[in-house]
């Protein structure tokens, strides 16, 4: 049964994940996720599940692959010009850690400024990362992003939170 991760290690890990997104280092970013890991952005508050209720995004490996491939497609109209992002990650708290499985649940807050075609927008919310931690590597099993305005009327969103 292994020791829990330090808050600093968790912070650095989340910073790295965010940085990959801001710097569009998609392969490195995707590599952080375990097989079939979920990336979920619910469309309503306290939404119980992604199957019986619509979500802004609910992706596992397959859809993630498609989206990331699309980023490279020459005819992705809505990505010309590109959107850019900067993520601030804060309020990192370790909610639980299971020494046996190495599974830990990390809660954080984020604000993302998104910029495209002369328009800057602000997004923010709470994020819950479920991580699988082993000595050799850390993987994201679930990343759940609860936007403060998840049930709002929203325009195009084309960058991962």
């Amino acid at each position: 049964m292994r020791a829990g991760p330090t808050l600093q290690a968790l912070e650095q890990y989340l910073y790295r994940e965010a940085r990959y997104i801001d710097e569009k280092r998609w392969d490195e970013w995707a590599a952080l996720f375990a097989d079939e890991a979920e990336y979920w952005v619910p469309a309503s508050r306290g939404q119980p599940d992604p199957k019986n209720h619509v979500s802004l995004i609910y992706e596992r490996s397959l859809l993630r692959d498609i989206r990331l491939q699309r980023y490279r497609h020459p005819n992705a109209m809505s990505l010309q010009p590109q959107p850019y992002s900067v993520h601030l990650i804060s309020n990192v708290m370790l909610d639980s850690f299971d020494g046996d499985s190495g599974v830990c649940v990390v809660n954080s807050r984020f604000i993302m400024l998104e910029y495209r075609r002369d328009e800057q927008r602000t997004f923010g919310g709470a994020v819950t990362h479920t991580l699988e931690i082993s000595d050799k590597d850390w993987r994201i099993r679930v990343k759940k992003v609860e936007l403060v305005n998840c049930d709002s009327t929203l325009g195009n969103i084309q960058i991962y939170f």
Binding site: A43, N52, V54, I57, D151, G155
Partner: protein, 444 residues
């Protein structure tokens, strides 16, 4: 500028429209009065207010309205405006109440709209010969409300035609959606996606039956899905719903020509029929069984083989029977439109069916996904491209005259025909210049 009948007539030719119909705020204001103030506008589905006292609030031509179930039989639609000082009586989007209470001075209303209590007492109005039972003390009713198989529509024009007749053959798209439930029952569930667009409402309503855009505008997503799908799920294996949903958007021209388009009175239309991008979804055995148990093999086959792509009940309602989702149009300004996507559960069908509808909604209609954003971008680019004054007209002249009468009383044409757009603008001009329009205006 104030447009007269002549001006408006000159904005629509048999095969083209003036760019101002999309970018001029004055045209938009007229549309709100003459089209959205006359036509039947979709409000909600009865399953959203199942029990007496259940309410739902929305807007009708930008006006806040309140839908309330009074009892089993009666569903009432009121202007969401207090009879006292005019405050919105109900601010929440939905809920349940035995009495409807205004927050400002606490007047209360019954679910039939009648006034139940006046803070400070009704005697204050005695000198005016008024009591709380006086009509002006109750919630105002929207002139016309009717529903077709659970889908509630309303009109601000008291002399609007009867709903069923007005729907015409597009009613059969609703029928088919209902028939797809083994119990003949639909239920709105799984929440709503509200998608804000920075463009005119007509771009959306035209795009749905624009057969030529998908293979191009959605190439980056659909073509990618095809490639990845082929790699991961080779011949013989079954691709998962994600692939089955995305890949068909990249079908070739012939596929979309074959789907065909069909236009009807009042600007309505649908595309597809014998086939559509939904045609080759894997069957779900448990569902087929449930259907056949009720309808028998032949009828079940009839129902499920009707494969319409998009049905448009002009100007506000669109549905996809094959995947049980509807998209509702909410104009906000000349260059601002909200599209709502709702999912319908086939009562009596296995959850798997709902899960696929939900997945479809996420993938295609979510503002954060990979299909809608390219449509959004296309509308945005037209909204800005039309600022150029170099050319006045936008042509809708593909296959002019090549349409043929169909046995539903409308006309059909090959997929890439602009017939549907021509039909929409014929209707547009009717609303904008018609006698009704004049009356429509007096109404406000």
């Amino acid at each position: 500028m104030a447009y007269n009948k002549q001006d408006l007539t000159e904005m629509v030719s048999e095969s083209a429209v003036d760019r101002r119909v999309y970018i001029d705020p004055d045209i938009f204001e007229l549309e709100m009065k003459r089209i959205w103030g006359r036509a039947w506008i979709y409000v909600a589905h009865e399953s959203q207010i199942p029990r007496p006292g259940d309410f739902f609030t929305t807007v009708l031509a930008r006006q806040p309205v309140l839908l309330v179930r009074q009892d089993e039989e009666h569903v009432n639609l009121f202007f969401n405006r207090c009879a006292h000082k005019g405050a919105k009586v109900v601010e929440l989007e939905s809920g349940r109440a035995s009495l409807i209470r205004c927050g400002y001075h606490g007047w209360t209303y019954r679910t039939d709209g009648s006034c139940h209590s006046i803070t400070g007492g009704e005697q204050a109005y005695a000198s005016q010969g008024l009591t709380k039972s006086s009509p002006c003390m109750s919630l105002g009713r929207v002139p016309r409300v009717d529903s077709y198989r659970g889908f509630i529509f309303a009109s601000l024009a008291s002399d609007a035609p009867q709903l069923r007749a007005w729907l015409g053959p597009t009613a059969t798209s609703i029928d088919n959606m209902v028939d797809r439930s083994p119990e003949g029952k639909l239920e709105v569930t799984g929440g709503v996606l509200r998608y804000h667009h920075d463009s005119n409402w007509k771009f959306f309503i035209e795009n749905l039956n624009d057969m030529m855009h998908a293979m191009i505008a959605h190439q980056s997503s659909a073509q990618t899905a095809r490639v990845i799908g082929k790699r991961l799920f080779p011949e013989g294996t079954t691709a998962p719903p994600e692939i089955q949903i995305l890949a068909p958007f990249a079908e070739d021209k012939d596929f979309f020509e074959k789907m065909g388009v069909h236009a009807f009175d009042n600007g309505h239309s649908y595309s597809g029929g014998k086939t559509s991008i939904h045609a080759s979804y894997s069957g779900i055995a448990e569902y087929d069984a449930a259907m056949e148990k009720v309808y028998g093999k032949k009828r079940t086959n009839e129902i499920l083989s009707l494969n319409r792509h998009n049905t448009i009940v002009y100007p506000s309602f669109t549905c996809k029977g094959a995947i049980q989702t509807i998209r509702v149009v909410k104009p906000v300004a000349v260059n601002e439109t909200v599209i709502e996507s709702w999912t319908l559960k086939l009562v009596g069908a296995p959850d798997e069916m709902l899960h696929r509808s939900i997945l479809y909604c996420n993938l295609i209609n979510s503002s954060a996904n990979i299909v809608g954003p390219d449509d959004y971008e296309a509308y945005h680019r037209i909204q800005h491209g039309l600022r150029t004054e170099g050319r006045r007209w936008i042509a809708n002249s593909r296959y002019v005259g090549a349409e043929t009468p169909n046995d539903e009383g409308g006309y059909s044409a090959t997929g890439s025909s602009d017939m549907v757009f021509r039909n929409q603008y014929r209707t547009w001009l009717n609303y904008m210049t018609g006698e009704q329009a004049a009356r429509g205006e007096r109404a406000s």
